[in-house]
C-alpha cells in the first residue's frame, strides 16, 4: 500500500497543528461557531444530535494492521470505545470532545492518516473497489489512480469552495463494485482499442434528493491525463455549478441542465487549454505510485478446493459462510474474505475497539497485514490462503464477524439515522436490527439469495436507499417516524433507481412490510432468480397489492 514520504507526512502534521490553533481560537471565544463551522467541517468534524462526530478518511478503504490498531486506540482513548464504518469506506467517531480532536488528528498523522476533506464542499475521500488489487476480474489496480487523485485534491487551492461536495470513485475491474455511476465523477480503467489501458469517465451520478445515474463523457482517456481532465471537469463545475440553491448545487444538476454532450464539449474546451500543463502525469510519477501497490509476495499454492470439503461437510454453518462471505482471488490458492459487521447485535458497520484490535491481529496473522473497508460497511481480509479458511472462520465466529450473510437480506446498509444524525427524520439502526432479528430465519428457510437492503434516515441517502434492491427511507410525518419502501434499485453494472411502492409505514409496521415484500418475491420467483430480477420481471403491482390490497 502507499507509504507516505516526508512531504505527505508534513502535510498531515501541519494540518493537525493548524486545527489545534483553530480549536484554541474557538474555545477562547475568538471565533464564533458560524466562523468555526466551515473550518471544522474541512476536517470532518460535525455537530450531531448528542455530540461532535469526527469522520476520518480511509483512502479507498485500505488500512494496514497498524492503522486499524490506531483506530482502536482512538476509540478507546478519546471516544466511547467504538467506531462506525461508513458507506464511503471511512470511519466515524461519535463522541469526541472538541478539545481532544487535535490530539486525535496527531494520532492519525502518526500512522499516515487524516480527516482532511471528509466533509465540506470540496473533493472528498476517493472511494474504490473493496477487492482492488486482488479481484479475479481486474484489468488494473485502481488504487494508484486513487492515491494520485488524493494527493492532487488535498488542499487544491482552486477547489476549496465548490458549489457542493464532490465524490470520485475509481474501479479497475470488469464488474463494478465501486458504484462509479453514482458518483460526481466515476472512473473505470478499461482496455483501449489499441490494447493499452485507458480511463472511461462518467460524470453527474449521485443519490440524495435527485438520484441520477452518471453519464459517460469520455470513453478512452489516456491515463496520463487523469489529472488534466479531472481538473478541467472541476473547473467547469466550480465556475458554472449552481450556488443559489444547495439542493441544486451538485454537478449532476449542471450536467443535466446543460446536457451531457454540451457539458462534455465545455470540459473538452477547458481541457484543450491545460492538456499539456505540468499536471500531465509522466511515466515516472505513475510508476512511483504504482510501485507502492505491487502485489505482496504470495506463497505459490496449489489451488485445491477439495481441501475444504471435509470441514464443509462437517459444519453446515462453515459451508454457508464459505458460500456467502468468501470470494475468488486472482492468485491461485488465495481467497478474499469478507467480515460481516452485521451480526444483528451492534449497529451495522459498528465495531468496538477490541474488535478493531482483533481484526488488526487477524490481518497480520492471515492477510499480510491488510484490511479493507467496504461501502457495504463490512471489512475485508484480502489475502487469505485457502487452506487456512476454517481456522480463520473459527476465530471470526468468536469475534462475531462470521455471520454468513454478505450481500444477503440481513447485510443491511444503514446510515446512523436519528440515533445520531442531526439531519435525520427517522431512526435507521433499530430497523436494521429488527430486520436482522426477524428475517435471518426467513432467509435461511427460503434462501433469498443475493439481496441488497439499504436504509437511509433521510433524503440525503447516506444509506444508499435508492440503489437497494429493497430501499427504505425514513421520513417525518408531523414529528413522527415513518418509512417509505422502494424496490428495484441497483448500484451494480445494471444501475437503476428504486421505485416507491406506496404510502409510508410507521415504525411498528415497516419490518412487516419488508417481510410481505419478501414473501411476494418467494411466491413469484423462478428457480435461482434474484429478488431484483423477479421484481424487474413481474413489475411492482404484485408487491403493491400484497402491501396495500387491491385499490
Amino acid at each position: 500500500m502507499y507509504r507516505y514520504d516526508a512531504h505527505d507526512q508534513r502535510i498531515v502534521e501541519q494540518r493537525a497543528a493548524q486545527f489545534r490553533r483553530q480549536v484554541q481560537r474557538r474555545l477562547a471565544g475568538e471565533i464564533t461557531e458560524d466562523e468555526f463551522k466551515p473550518l471544522r467541517l474541512q476536517n470532518g468534524l460535525y455537530m450531531q444530535l448528542h455530540a461532535y462526530m469526527l469522520r476520518v478518511a480511509v483512502p479507498y478503504g485500505l488500512l494496514s494492521a497498524a492503522q486499524m490498531r490506531q483506530l482502536a486506540h482512538i476509540a478507546r482513548t478519546w471516544d466511547k470505545g467504538y467506531g462506525h464504518f461508513t458507506t464511503r469506506q471511512n470511519i466515524q467517531y461519535n463522541w469526541p470532545d472538541l478539545a481532544d480532536v487535535p490530539a486525535i488528528l496527531d494520532a492519525l498523522a502518526e500512522v499516515q492518516m487524516h480527516a482532511i476533506q471528509t466533509s465540506g464542499n470540496c473533493v472528498r475521500n476517493v472511494t474504490s473497489d473493496p477487492f482492488a488489487g486482488v479481484a479475479a476480474d481486474e484489468i488494473a489496480d485502481p488504487r494508484p489512480y486513487c492515491e494520485i487523485l488524493r494527493q492532487w485534491s488535498t488542499f487544491h487551492p482552486e477547489f476549496a469552495a465548490l458549489p457542493r461536495k464532490f465524490k470520485i470513485a475509481v474501479t479497475g475491474a470488469e464488474t463494478d463494485r465501486a458504484a462509479v455511476a453514482w458518483h460526481d465523477i466515476g472512473l473505470r480503467i478499461v482496455r483501449a482499442p489499441d490494447g493499452g489501458r485507458a480511463i472511461q469517465v462518467l460524470v453527474g451520478g449521485g443519490m440524495g434528493r435527485t438520484p441520477v445515474v452518471g453519464k459517460v463523457i469520455r470513453e478512452y482517456l489516456p491515463e496520463a491525463h487523469l489529472l488534466t481532465y479531472t481538473e478541467a471537469i472541476l473547473r467547469v463545475y466550480n465556475r458554472h455549478g449552481r450556488r443559489d440553491n444547495m439542493y441544486k448545487a451538485r454537478i449532476k444538476i449542471l450536467v443535466d441542465a446543460m446536457g451531457a454532450d454540451a457539458f462534455a464539449a465545455e470540459v473538452d474546451a477547458e481541457w484543450a487549454e491545460i492538456k499539456d500543463s505540468g499536471l500531465l502525469l509522466d511515466g515516472d510519477e505513475l510508476a512511483r505510485v504504482k510501485a507502492h501497490f505491487e502485489p505482496p509476495r504470495y506463497t505459490p499454492l496449489e489451488d485445491d478446493p477439495s481441501a475444504l470439503e471435509a470441514p464443509r461437510l462437517m459444519d453446515p454453518e462453515f459451508a454457508r459462510w464459505l458460500d456467502n462471505n468468501v470470494f475468488a482471488h486472482r492468485q491461485p490458492g488465495y481467497r478474499i474474505v469478507v467480515l460481516s459487521l452485521k451480526n444483528g447485535e451492534l449497529p451495522p458497520g459498528d465495531a468496538t475497539h477490541t474488535q478493531m484490535d482483533a481484526v488488526a491481529d487477524l490481518a497480520d496473522d492471515f492477510s499480510m497485514g491488510r484490511v479493507v473497508v467496504t461501502h457495504r460497511q463490512n471489512l475485508v481480509l484480502p489475502d487469505v490462503e485457502h487452506w487456512r479458511l476454517h481456522s480463520l472462520w473459527r476465530k471470526l465466529r468468536t469475534l462475531g464477524f462470521a455471520t454468513p450473510n454478505v450481500e444477503r437480506v440481513t447485510d443491511v446498509i444503514c446510515c446512523p439515522g436519528l440515533d445520531y444524525c442531526s439531519l435525520a427524520n427517522a431512526r435507521s439502526i433499530p430497523v436494521a436490527q429488527e430486520i436482522s432479528q426477524r428475517l435471518t430465519a426467513f432467509d435461511t428457510e427460503h434462501d433469498l439469495g443475493d439481496l441488497h437492503l439499504n436504509i437511509s434516515g433521510c433524503i440525503n441517502a447516506c444509506g444508499h436507499h435508492h440503489v437497494g434492491h429493497i430501499g427504505i427511507l425514513g421520513i417525518n410525518k408531523s414529528g413522527e417516524e415513518y418509512y417509505q419502501v422502494m424496490i428495484g434499485g441497483s448500484n451494480a453494472d445494471d444501475a437503476s433507481m428504486g421505485t416507491v411502492l406506496g404510502r409510508a409505514f410507521p415504525r411498528d409496521g415497516i419490518v412487516d412490510a419488508v417481510e410481505t415484500v419478501l414473501k411476494t418475491y418467494v411466491d413469484h420467483r423462478n428457480e435461482h432468480e434474484r429478488f431484483l430480477d423477479t421484481a424487474r420481471r413481474i413489475g411492482f403491482d404484485p408487491f403493491k397489492e400484497a402491501l396495500y390490497g387491491n385499490p
Binding site: R21, L39, N121, W152, P157, E285
Partner: protein, 179 residues
C-alpha cells in the same frame, strides 16, 4: 462588496499583501472603491465596477490609477480583452463559500497573463488566504473586524504544495525527488 466612501474622507485601510516573492505583511492602503453613481476624485488610487469600466472605459483611461472591480462570474477572456494597461483588479467573494473567484484568478494569471495587483475583497477570512494566494491573489482586504496582523500566520501554515497553481507551475512530483 465595495465600500462607498469618497476619497476625501477615506480612512487608511490595513491591507494584507503577499507579493509573489517576499514575505506577506500588513501595509496602509488608501485605495478607494468608487460606487457607480459617485464621481471620481481627482487624485489617488481608485477602483470602479466592471460595468462602469465597460461603459466609460475611454474617460476612465484618461485618469491614472484606476483599477477594476470584477464580480466572480465574468468570463476571464472578456476581461482580458479590455484591461490592457490596467494594473489593479479586485475579485469579489460574496461569501467565503463561493469559490468562483479562485478559478477566475487562476485563469486571469495563468491563461491571460495578467500581472498587476489582484486583490481579494468581500468575505475574505484568514483561513482562505493561502488558497487565494496560490490562485494568484497578492493583496487581501479582510472582512471588517478581522485582525490583519493575526491573519499573516495563515500563510505559514502549509509549505508542501501538491498541485500546480498560479504560484507554481509544476506539481510536487516534478519539483522534488519523491521516494
Amino acid at each position: 462588496m465595495a465600500t462607498h466612501e469618497s476619497a476625501a474622507h477615506a480612512p487608511l485601510r490595513r491591507l494584507v499583501v503577499a507579493p509573489r516573492a517576499g514575505q506577506p505583511r500588513v501595509v496602509d492602503d488608501a485605495l478607494c472603491h468608487i460606487a457607480d453613481d459617485e464621481p471620481l476624485p481627482l487624485l489617488g488610487p481608485v477602483t470602479v465596477s466592471w460595468d462602469r469600466w465597460q461603459s466609460e472605459e475611454s474617460t476612465l483611461r484618461a485618469r491614472a490609477n484606476v483599477g477594476v472591480r470584477l464580480p466572480n462570474d465574468v468570463e476571464p477572456a472578456d476581461v482580458a480583452a479590455r484591461i490592457a494597461g490596467v494594473d489593479r483588479l479586485t475579485i469579489d467573494f460574496p461569501s467565503f463559500k463561493d469559490g468562483r473567484g479562485y478559478s477566475l484568478a487562476r485563469l486571469l494569471r495563468e491563461r491571460h497573463g495578467y500581472e498587476g495587483e489582484l486583490r481579494a475583497v468581500g468575505d475574505v477570512l484568514r483561513d482562505q488566504l493561502q488558497a487565494m494566494r496560490r490562485c494568484g491573489f497578492d493583496s487581501f482586504e479582510l472582512k471588517a473586524g478581522k485582525d490583519p496582523e493575526d491573519a499573516l500566520e495563515a500563510f505559514a501554515e502549509f509549505d508542501v504544495l501538491y498541485q500546480p497553481a498560479a504560484d507554481e507551475a509544476l506539481p510536487l512530483w516534478r519539483r522534488v525527488r519523491r521516494t
